[in-house]
Amino acid sequence: MLKIQNLTKIYDGGVLALDNVSFEVPEGQFLAIIGLSGSGKSTLLRCINRLIEPTEGTILWNGKDITKASDDEMRHIRRKIGMVFQHFNLVHRSSVLTNVLAGRLGYVNPAMSILNRFPQSDIDNAIKQLDRVGIADKAYSRADELSGGQQQRVGVARAMMQNPEIILADEPVASLDPVLAHSIMQHLEKINKEDGTTVLCSLHFLDLVHRYADRAVALNDGKLMYEGPPDGIDDAKFKEIYGKDAERVG
């Protein structure tokens, strides 16, 4: 159970990105986070693994407050939270395998990983994860030789290497075409259904939300506007979330 209470983030310039946001995510749920660009979706996700330090509020996970964790504790928490990014964030000049193995950095001994030594079990697991997303044959290619869809699959495989209990997906399909988008979403769905991993996924398109999410939360200007089943977003709610000039597409 992930419990977010009164989360507020004010950036250095005084921009209010999150305004007193509270909601809960039960274990094993596929939660979609929707809202306009700049509504605070990315900030919310990054506050959960503290890539961004929240200004106020608490994030309780399994009874422990993430916002109070020390650096060492944060390292242990982060390795249980996988993250998938809009721009894939692969290290371009490294091989696909190294990129996937990077998911184990929280587990392996730092001294060994500095010498680029990973346990054989991790290497086998990396190949297995790549196989699962269908690109095991690309393991030794350089990451920047892959197409966008393939790169995102590497991103998913990297997150899966962490053996995560939660996956934070920050607009994972926003830079992909619709076919690839569905393929990546299906991978996330599989991870959610088969492994029971909780998924928090920010999305732009409502049809993806309807198709994959168990529940949705909506943000507008840092405020929580909606919380409930995806079907509950009717035209009135839609206009409230996206502004009254918005029109539904797709």
Binding site: D72, L90, A102, N109
Partner: protein, 605 residues
């Protein structure tokens, strides 16, 4: 009306600006001593032409030369009666004088025929009963090998037959390199290798330092006052311990260093022990939380491993010394390889203490800092007091160390008073910080380190390598070694700055992704930062080598060896043709370096 007014003001402003610019440039002419009269003077112009022509004729090739002498017997003055002399052999080069005899000081016409085309040389008068040659002029043959010139005969009347002599010099055989060319070749090789060594050494040191001068890596490094105080306090403690450990390891290794075989055997055995120890102390994964007894056990073993590691370094250095000396004696013309191995052993032996002190200092400081932060997280009543005490101690120590450094430079040598003052000032600053700051408040220690490194790099960089060469010449003597060290120092400062700017411009996304997996700072740098900076680092390093080749050409002016040494010598001796050889050599090397490095960059990056 208002519009017009502002237009007028604008014009006025521009007029004033132009006038000011004129004044500034006029003053610039005045202070830079622009002297146009000098450049117009005939004397200066002939000098300039002479030097430019000398520079255009580098003294690279020379021939063996053969002298060819043509003689014309003449009578000066004309004898009474018969004055017919033997007619010259017209199949060889020959001279004709018209008239065939004349009085001293008389102007006569000398003709030459059958000479080599365009040959030139002196035309002399050889008086009888004497060994002097009196030069009448210089002849220049035309295309057909003929010349004619008017000369005034020398005032040496004699009744005997006297002679007119024409000397031509002919190049024979194949051209050879001059002494200058050979010396230049030797020095240009020296120059290129000076640059290579300086670049290598500079790069090796600049790479780790550059991370400390990168804003994006340092800005989120924070600590609390307790943490940073403990960090500062434990640096000297760790460094002292490191020196002791190195001493102990050195002593222990002397049991093995008596004999090369023992050293080798010891090296192998200790390496095996280290390997086993590493496997225990550094488990491949840490899935579960580990008990504190395991932590203590592992830490003890890590300490022991470090001691053994330092011992191995001493053994390696000793073995290198032994093997190097042996090779140097037995390798003949490849003795320099042995010397190199021996020197490497020597250098290693010197730096082991530094490595040990720095490592333990850094480890102690980091652990103490982390424990300090942890301690401050659970505030008790005593936390504030402990913070104040630690801040006072750290402040006092920092200021006393700074004062000790100043004292080393300026030799105040009034120890008690100086250190008391420094200690009091430091303590007061610590006290103020300790009272005002909350135990959990984050200090931006990363920024402080960043600014210190930046400042040091900028200061070092602003002093040119040729100035450093003067200092190093005093330390290690005149020669290329001093030059290499001077270049290396400048390279460190310049490259560290360029490198750190590259680190600042990497993509943040991959770094964020690596961080989100739970990687620590060092892992993040190695997996997220380094792969991104390899291409720019390589191209900057090559560019720097290029710069170092150019700089090492002038560093000889300050006694730093290399081709600049020859160049400055020849310029001072006014041997412009020799200096020209060196200038051409520099131009060729720099141009080819530029070509090679751009090719390499294309292929590597």
């Amino acid at each position: 009306m208002k519009q017009k007014n502002s237009n007028f003001l604008r014009s006025l402003k521009i007029a004033i600006a132009v006038f000011l610019a004129l004044v500034i440039y006029a003053y610039g002419f005045q202070v830079t001593n622009v002297k146009l009269e000098e450049t117009k003077s005939e004397h200066r112009q002939t000098q300039l032409v002479r030097i430019l022509r000398a520079l255009a004729k580098p003294d690279i090739l020379e021939y063996e030369r053969e002298e060819f002498i043509v003689l014309l017997p003449i009578m000066v003055p004309c004898p009474e009666g018969d004055n017919s002399l033997d007619a010259p052999n017209t199949s060889n080069p020959y001279l004709v004088m018209t008239p065939s005899c004349a009085d001293p000081r008389e102007v006569v016409m000398i003709e030459g025929h059958n000479f080599e085309s365009f040959s030139t040389g002196p035309l002399n008068f050889l008086p009888a009963d004497s060994t002097v040659r009196l030069q009448l002029g210089t002849f220049k043959a035309d295309k057909n090998g003929d010349f004619e010139m008017e000369v005034r005969l020398s005032p040496r009347p004699n009744e005997k037959i006297q002679e007119i002599q024409a000397i031509t010099r002919k190049n024979i055989g194949t051209p050879k390199f001059t002494e200058t060319a050979l010396a230049t070749w030797e020095k240009i090789i020296e120059t290129v290798f000076m640059a290579l060594l300086a670049t290598t050494l500079g790069t090796m040191i600049a790479i780790p330092l550059s991370f400390f001068a990168a804003r994006n890596l340092m800005e989120d490094v924070t600590s609390t006052l307790i943490g940073s105080s403990l960090s500062i306090l434990f640096i000297p403690v760790g460094a002292y311990l490191g020196i002791k450990v190195a001493g102990l390891a050195s002593q222990l290794s002397t049991y093995l260093t008596g004999n090369l075989l023992y050293s080798l055997a010891g090296l192998i055995i200790i390496s095996l022990i280290i390997w086993q120890g590493v496997r225990f102390a550094f488990p491949q994964q840490e899935i579960e939380k580990i008990s504190s007894s395991t932590i203590i056990g592992r830490t003890t073993i890590k300490g022991g491993l470090f001691l053994l590691l330092i011992m191995t370094l001493y053994l390696v250095s000793n073995i290198a010394l032994g093997i190097g000396t042996y090779l140097a004696i037995n390798l003949g013309s490849f003795a320099f390889l042995g010397d190199f191995v021996r020197d490497m052993g020597d250098i290693l032996n010197l730096v082991i203490v530094i490595i040990s002190a720095l490592t333990i200092g850094a480890v102690f400081s980091s652990i103490a800092g982390r424990l300090g932060i942890k301690f401050g997280r659970t505030p008790k009543a005593t936390t504030k007091i402990i913070q104040i005490v630690l801040a006072i101690l750290a402040g006092a120590m920092l200021f006393i160390l700074i004062m000790a450094m100043l004292n080393w430079f300026y030799e105040y040598n009034n120890y008690t008073e100086l250190y008391a003052y420094a200690g009091i000032i430091g303590s007061l600053m610590g006290l103020v910080l300790g009272i005002t700051l909350k135990p959990t408040a984050a200090l931006k220690t990363g920024f402080i380190i960043y600014y210190i490194f930046r400042t040091v790099f900028n200061a070092l960089r602003s002093i040119e390598a040729i100035v450093w060469a003067i200092i190093f010449v005093v330390w290690v003597g005149i020669g290329p070694f001093a030059g290499s060290l001077a270049l290396a120092l400048h390279t460190i400062a310049a490259l560290a700055k360029l490198y750190s700017e590259q680190v600042e411009s990497i993509m943040a996304g991959p770094v964020e992704a690596i961080q989100s997996t739970g990687a620590n700072r060092l892992q993040t740098i190695i997996y997220g930062v380094i792969p991104q900076i390899v291409p720019p680092y390589i191209s900057f390093t090559m560019y720097r080598w290029d710069i170092n080749v150019r700089m090492s050409t002038i560093i000889g002016f300050a006694g730093g060896g290399g081709i600049g040494f020859l160049l400055s010598q020849n310029i001072n001796l006014l041997q412009y043709r020799a200096a020209s050889v060196q200038m051409f050599a520099i131009a060729i090397v720099v141009a080819s370096m530029d070509y090679i490095s751009s090719k390499l960059r294309e292929n590597v990056v």
